[in-house]
């Protein structure tokens, strides 16, 4: 452990600034080099491969260089990662393919209501710092279930903690592997399945040999790539349009133009306004108008579930186990949010600039005058005009001709765009050289890989440390522990990659579910464990089962057994947020349909995801589970015997930053 710190290791930590400074400089020089190669005529495909290949090689080299054979290095990076750098690593750990590629698209589609995700995915760090993170650091755990086991009397609580952890992390990691496949196949033209397994290799090289230590130093490198990649195109675009290189300030003007253009489009009969009387698909929803995509309950529900979920997700909490002190753990949460903020407060600018481009240069234009950047995405089926993939100009013209009474200009309802396209197409919209598109691809990959690394490590550590070492073989020697950890890491990664390669339909929704599940399962037990001495073992176990169980029940029934939910669990149709009418117009008729009681229906099923209690979207099931968890812990704890004097003294101990960690691991 820390006692083995050598002078060379000290020198290593002193040089961090210079090392990552050089790395950032090298990366920028590499971009310039590729830009020059593009000018002398190197084809785009080669540039794409160079970009992605080079960055992955760099991550792999860092991963191999920082390999380790020490348990504390493997699990918590020796608890020596300075606050600032841990903040960067957490930023990369946190921001997934969904944040990098999907967030701006969501904001494009949903306007104001989409900001629920921005707020939810940032504000949770306040809870991490105030309620949980620093206390777990003082406790000295390797994993979140470690804390639950110590505080709540042993292996039952530990096992429940592992179940919650695996449930919320596994679907999440599958989504990241899926994301790497998507980005690699779009930019490099690889087949999706091959791209998934290529991404897998990249992930394993970073994490297998060095565990947390290697993941930490690669995540910092990945953060630098992803933030440069995210900000570069939008800064250039802002400078071109408004002459000021700060898109976060200039997109206010774009929003004003969007609002003006929306009025003009309605006047020119290019769009139909979504109103209380009728709000068909494809109708205009003004960009800044609130509560037209989510009802206020679901809007604030998403904010709350994502925030509390953030503070309950094990792969985030475990990043704060790596700081040298409790004080630095707190500073580190602040740095994390700062680095995350840099991306999230820029995402609405992407959305605004893209929307303005679509509203001024596509909608209202003659079909024959569509701008050519669009066809690259149309070919992939990501942009549709007049109901058909806009693969070429002729295809778009033919599709619109086929619609009776089509005026020949593109109307809002004629245009459908996949949300992933917004970030990926911005360089082309701005007419930037291909090198910038390659940069964006490398950034998206960095975001997906870094999150996948963190999640895989969280799952494999829980299985190897909590299940294998603590429950099955407590006498296992270090070498065997680390071998088991690596084998499990490999297995989990392969299963996730296999699952991703089958393209499961619910994969993106599952990321949202992970937050609610983590919130219902972990949050009450963690908060009460630190903040309420009276919380007992029985109370916590009952609370985890009740909260997590209710949330899981609501999710699974409303998605996979909706007929059962309506018939036996009193579920009713969700309501349209604008018109207030039920989404399923005739529930009785839908129930009478022959397949209504069928289980595991596809997403297209008329009932799937469309029924529930209190008009609550199933993504917000944590809103039901978490309060129940708190209530059960409170009531059952009061009914059972107060925790022992030793346990109360132990709780006092984790509340004081000073002194040794409570849990001392043998090395």
């Amino acid at each position: 452990m820390a006692t083995q710190t050598t002078t060379s290791a000290d020198a290593f930590y002193k040089q961090l600034g210079r090392m990552y400074g050089t790395y950032t400089g090298g990366f920028l020089a590499f971009i310039v080099l590729l830009a020059l190669l593009e000018q002398v005529g190197v084809p785009n495909k080669i540039l794409g491969y160079l970009f992605v290949g080079f960055t992955i090689v760099v991550y792999a080299v860092i991963g191999v260089m920082t390999r380790t054979a020490q348990v504390s290095e493997y699990y918590v990076a020796g608890r020596r990662v300075p606050a600032f750098y841990n903040g960067m690593a957490t930023g990369a750990d946190w921001m997934s393919a969904a944040s990098f590629v999907g967030m701006a698209g969501t904001l494009f589609l949903l306007g104001y209501d989409g900001i629920a995700w921005v707020l939810g995915w940032t504000g949770g760090f306040v809870l991490v710092s105030i309620l949980i993170g620093p206390y777990l650091r003082k406790f000295g755990a390797y994993t979140v279930p470690d804390f639950l086991a110590f505080r709540f009397g042993g292996n039952v609580a530990r096992f429940l903690g592992v179940i919650v952890l695996v449930c919320c992390s596994f679907t999440y990691v599958t989504a990241q592997v899926y994301g790497t496949g998507l980005i690699a196949s779009r930019f490099l033209g690889m087949s999706f399945e091959i791209a998934v397994f290529a991404g897998l290799a990249g992930i394993l090289l970073c994490s297998m040999l060095g565990g947390m230590r290697a993941v930490t130093w690669t995540q910092i490198a990945q953060y630098i790539v992803l933030i440069v990649a995210y900000l570069t195109p939008i800064i250039i675009l802002s400078t071109m349009k408004y002459g000021i290189p700060i898109p976060e300030l200039t997109y206010g003007a774009a929003i004003q133009e969007i609002t003006a253009r929306e009025g003009q489009m309605l006047k020119d009969n290019l769009a139909v306004l979504c109103t209380v009387e009728s709000c068909p698909a494809g109708s205009l929803k003004p960009h800044i108008e609130p509560f037209i995509n989510y009802s206020p309950l679901n809007f604030f529900g998403i904010i709350f579930c994502m925030m509390v979920g953030t503070a309950s997700l094990p792969h985030i909490l475990m990043r704060y186990f790596t700081t040298p002190s409790v004080r630095e753990a707190r500073q580190s949460v602040a740095w994390s949010l700062f680095f995350i903020f840099l991306l999230y407060f820029s995402a609405p600018a992407y959305a605004a600039f893209s929307k303005l481009e679509v509203y001024t240069n596509i909608i209202g234009r003659d079909v024959t005058a569509i701008r050519p950047w669009l066809f690259t995405w149309g070919e992939l089926g990501l942009i549709q005009i007049c109901g058909k993939n806009a693969a070429s100009l002729d295809a778009a013209i033919a599709a619109c001709k086929a619609i009776a009474g089509h005026p020949g200009v593109v109307r809002l309802q004629d245009f459908v765009i996949n949300t992933d396209v917004i970030v990926l197409s911005t360089p082309e919209i701005a007419g930037l050289p291909y090198v910038i598109s390659g940069l964006v691809a490398a950034g998206g990959l960095a975001a997906a890989l870094s999150t996948a690394d963190g999640l895989l490590l969280a799952i494999a550590n829980a299985l190897s440390h909590d299940i294998y070492y603590k429950m099955l073989d407590p006498k296992a020697p270090t070498i065997r522990r680390l071998t088991v950890a690596r084998v499990l890491l490999f297995l989990v990664a392969v299963i996730a990659a296999y699952l991703a390669s089958t393209k499961p339909a619910d994969i993106l929704a599952m990321v949202g579910w992970a937050f609610s599940l983590a919130m219902a399962g972990n949050f009450p037990a963690l908060v009460m464990g630190v903040w309420w001495k009276r919380a007992t073992t029985t109370g916590a176990i009952a609370g985890i089962i009740a909260g997590f169980g209710l949330c899981l029940f609501y999710l699974v029934v409303s998605r996979y057994f909706p007929g059962f939910g309506v018939k036996y669990a009193g579920m009713t149709s969700l309501l349209n947020p604008v018109t207030g009418k039920p989404v399923i117009a005739d529930l009785a008729a839908a129930m009478a349909a022959p397949n209504a009681m069928e289980s595991w229906p596809t997403l297209a099923h008329p009932l799937a995801n469309k029924v529930g209690w209190f008009n609550l979207n199933n993504i917000n099931c944590g809103l039901l589970g978490m309060p129940l968890g708190f209530l059960v812990i409170y009531v059952v704890s009061l009914m059972t015997k107060e925790p022992s004097k030793e346990m109360q003294a132990f709780i006092d101990e984790i509340r004081k930053p000073r002194g040794r960690t409570v849990l001392e691991e043998k090395v």
């Binding site: 921005v118 707020l119 500073q331 949460v333 407060f345 903040w531 004081k656």
Partner: protein, 90 residues
């Protein structure tokens, strides 16, 4: 340096709890309460930049508050820890 005693431990925890509630209050206000007034706030437009205020608060304002507040919290909690002799050695 204050002697460790149960009274000192309790006083430290009271101060910590108080700080926790203050920050949770600010978090709740900027995470939720202010966005409940988005419709009236959107009638105000930020001069020069052109953002409607309600939209701006959700897209940027609250985020800035969260970041600043976390740095302040780290400082304030450290001050409490030092005052009661509970801080780690520098």
């Amino acid at each position: 340096m204050v002697e460790p005693s149960q009274a000192n431990t309790d006083a430290h925890w009271r101060a910590t709890t108080r700080l926790m509630f203050i920050h949770l209050g600010v978090w709740f206000f900027f995470g939720y309460v202010i966005h409940m007034f988005v419709i009236p706030l959107n009638k105000i437009v930020i001069p020069v930049l052109g953002f409607p205020l309600g939209f701006y608060m959700a897209a940027q304002g609250s985020l800035i508050v969260f970041v600043v507040m976390l740095f302040m919290f780290a400082k304030q909690q450290d001050r409490i820890d030092r005052e009661f002799g509970m801080a780690e050695d520098d």
